[in-house]
């Protein structure tokens, strides 16, 4: 029947909190939160140690499960792509190139051998046949220098030369030189075997000419010393590969990111539900149990959670019942003591008894008040907060105490009238008890009403600002014992504020005095 507000219970004690990654210091990461497309941040996975997380200031470990999954998948993907690229560049590319080059070399050798067999007069007719791309043949070019022999020669030229040399025989003198003119369209380029041209990538690819291989002139001597000059284009090296790779990678990255998002949302849905349930448990220990559905692990977790909730609920209600029963049972002996004390002849002694009994009675009363579930007892109604504060002010005035009101609130607030009155009353009583006079400052904000209850007292040490909300907390000054407080007033007030979806905080005012900040949402939860 009576249960202490669950929020109190979750707020204090009993277990050290499970360290959450969020609490682990400043693990700033570009992947913090739910990054939708982590591609830019993952552009440099190589620097740093993405899997070592939060050690020191170096940390790239994303905070969300989603981010982590994307990171792992992308790192693997990038590594695979890097290796593929390496293989492409070193082996496959050269093999393809060599195959293409060999075909071209073979053709040249065939032409040379054909021309060799022909008389000089017939040769121009034959060469005329080869005046069109991809291979133009002429017989009247002047001799040229052999660039392929130079130390810094292009590897493709040297390789091509080697192939020609092999086909023609070592004795032949071969000259190769680069031509500084736009190369032939790659569609005509020889040796493109199965590689696909950049054109296949449509508008996304580089301009076709830029991707074609170098144009070269090859001069081969015929048996009679005539120089045959071939004007042709070498097979383009895979200069477009990184671009194509980048595009492929981009497609993969996007799909991985989207798939990770789907997978994580799907897999972590139950985790969010669990987190939400745990949050709600803090507000209401008797919340409806979680649905025990889904995959085995999830079902087990939900069942464990529900069992835990049941045990907690039982534990709390048992504890509440004991405390409530004890407090009730104390009433009869206190009543007897009160009567006995009144029958004492000694006036001083009687007064002392009276004070002790007042204290005991206040404790019993406030314990019962504290244990009472105020939200269960009263329904939420529209209340005129201004009338409430003013009527309380009138009551204080009638009992000779001054409470000042600053500010105003128009309209009404959704709340439990008696509970709010008790809550505010406790705060004002506190202010009057320790700070002599109380001022209630009304601050009507967009979503909340904030009431600041200020006193002119000595305030409390900063270290105790939170502790004073604990039941029966006695500060170093132990002032409440001397002034008649039970040590539950603030706790009761805060429970009420929490039950309304609000809160109470304390702070010392710069000019002295204590300020209690009561925040109440316009609509109670």
């Amino acid at each position: 029947m009576c249960s202490p507000s669950a929020s109190r219970w979750t707020r204090n004690e009993c277990h050290p909190p499970i360290p959450l990654p969020e609490e682990g210091g400043d693990c700033g990461s570009p992947l913090r939160g739910s990054v939708l497309l982590a591609v830019p941040a993952l552009g440099r996975p190589g620097d740093g140690h993405p899997f070592f997380g939060c050690n020191g200031e170096m940390s790239l470990l994303p905070k969300s499960l989603y981010g982590r999954l994307v990171l792992v998948l992308l790192c693997g993907l990038l590594a695979a792509q890097a290796i593929t690229l390496y293989i492409n560049r070193t082996e496959r590319d050269q093999l393809l190139y060599r195959a293409g080059g060999r075909g071209l070399a073979q053709r040249m050798v065939d032409i040379v051998q054909l021309l060799d067999t022909l008389p000089a007069a017939e040769r121009p007719k034959v060469t005329a046949l080869f005046r069109a791309p991809p291979l133009r043949v002429s017989l009247d070019e002047p001799p040229m220098a052999d660039e392929a022999a130079a130390a810094d020669a292009d590897f493709r030229q040297t390789m091509f030369k080697t192939m020609l040399q092999r086909a023609l025989g070592n004795a032949a003198k071969i000259s190769i030189s680069q031509v500084a003119r736009p190369p032939l369209p790659p569609a005509f380029a020889p040796g493109m075997m199965g590689m696909g041209g950049p054109n296949r990538l449509g508008g996304l690819g580089p301009p076709p000419y830029a991707a074609a291989g170098p144009s070269i002139l090859v001069q081969l001597p015929l048996g009679d010393g005539v120089l045959v000059t071939f004007d042709t284009t070498l097979s383009p090296q895979a200069t477009d590969l990184p671009l194509r790779l980048a595009l492929t990678l981009l497609v993969l990255l996007v799909s991985v990111a989207l798939l990770s998002l789907l997978a994580v949302r799907w897999l972590t849905g139950p985790l969010s539900a669990l987190a939400q349930a745990a949050d709600q448990l803090g507000e209401n220990i008797n919340r409806a149990p979680m649905a025990e559905t889904g995959p085995t692990e999830v079902r087990r977790a939900a069942r464990a959670f529900n069992t835990m909730q049941q045990r907690l609920s039982r534990f709390i209600s048992e504890r509440s019942r004991i405390l409530t029963a004890m407090s009730h049972d104390l009433k009869t002996p206190i009543t007897r003591l009160r009567l006995r004390a009144e029958l004492l002849e000694d006036e001083t002694l009687r007064q002392k008894f009276g004070r002790d009994l007042d204290e005991m009675q206040a404790m019993v009363h406030e314990t019962l008040e504290f244990m009472r579930d105020s939200s269960a007892a009263e329904s939420v109604q529209a209340i005129d907060l201004m009338a409430l504060i003013e009527s309380m002010q009138a009551d204080y005035r009638d009992s000779g105490r001054t409470v000042a009101i600053e500010g105003q609130i128009e309209g009404s607030l959704e709340a439990r009238p008696l509970a709010v009155r008790r809550c505010l009353g406790n705060l004002v009583d506190n202010a009057l008890r320790y700070g002599e006079r109380a001022t209630v400052v009304i601050d009507d904000q967009a979503d909340n009403v904030v009431l600041r209850i200020r006193d002119a007292g000595p305030g409390i040490p900063e270290s105790e600002l939170e502790q004073v909300f604990e039941p029966f907390y006695r500060g170093e000054a132990s002032r409440s014992r001397e002034t008649g407080g039970s040590g539950l007033g603030l706790g009761i007030a805060r429970n009420i504020a929490h039950a309304h979806g609000g809160d109470i905080t304390l702070r010392n005012l710069p000019g002295g005095g204590l300020e209690a900040n009561l925040r109440l949402p316009h609509s109670a939860t």
Binding site: T335, R338, L339, E342, A387, D395, P417, R421
Partner: protein, 241 residues
């Protein structure tokens, strides 16, 4: 008090019974103490009883049942004692016809003060001025919740009242359409006559009007009767739920 008032204490706790008896006797009352309803009835037939202090939790017939059956037979004022101190107890106690209500553990001096007030009210006022027994009192477009002790405006907004404002309104509601003088108001509220120079009644009426949104220049709910006092000028309906 011309003669000694006789108080009957009904409580099942022997010690409290005895101590209460001693305390009352020490304070100038004649006291009889009994443990249950049966003994109470016997005591009532045996001697004149001016007031009954009745414990709510009794073995056999409980305090509420006793109070109700008592009310059907006599006018003897009853002060109810309870260990629970919850609002429902208070309202139920008052509905059953108790004149006042005190939660244990009570301050004995408070009990003495209540006994005095109840006796004085009982003797100095006609019957219809005794405690009202309704949970909700509707007057005009307004209603008063006697448990929570606050008003419900025509718009359904809870309007809190100070203790004094509530008391004054209860008095007006019990005497709807009757002109009440300042003296009467004071007597009903505090059990003493008004000081001719005491303006506190006027101040309280003006605050109550403010709560009710009643224009002080032209009030519609609590009207001023020049030279006489005030009158609640709307119809009142008791709604015991």
């Amino acid at each position: 008090m011309d003669s000694t008032d006789h108080i009957l204490v009904v409580d099942d706790d022997a010690e409290i019974r005895q101590l209460l008896g001693d305390y009352l006797r020490k304070n100038g009352y004649e006291a009889t103490t009994v443990a249950d309803g049966k003994a109470m009835r016997t005591a009532l037939t045996r001697s004149r009883i001016d007031l009954i202090v009745l414990d709510l939790m009794l073995p056999g017939e409980d305090g509420l049942t006793l109070c109700r059956s008592l009310r059907s037979q006599s006018e003897t004022p009853v002060i109810m004692l309870t260990a629970r101190g919850e609002e429902t107890d208070r309202i139920v106690g008052l509905e059953m016809g108790a004149d006042d209500y005190l939660a244990k553990p009570f301050n004995p001096r408070e009990l003495l003060a209540r006994i005095k007030t109840v006796l004085r009210r009982y003797r100095s006022l006609p019957l219809n001025l005794r405690a009202d027994q309704a949970r909700t009192i509707v007057f005009g477009a307004w209603s008063l919740d006697t448990v929570a002790r606050h008003l419900l405006s025509p718009e359904g907004v809870v309007i809190s009242l100070s203790g004094a404002e509530y008391q004054l309104l209860r008095i007006f509601l019990s005497h709807a359409n009757q002109v009440l003088t300042r003296d009467q108001l004071m007597l009903l509220a505090k059990g003493r006559e008004a000081d001719p120079f005491d303006r506190s009644v006027d101040l309280k009426v003006s605050r109550l009007r403010h709560r009710l949104g009643d224009d002080p220049a032209e009030p519609h709910i609590i009207k001023t009767v020049r030279g006489q006092g005030y009158v609640l000028a709307v119809s009142v309906e008791m709604d015991p739920q």
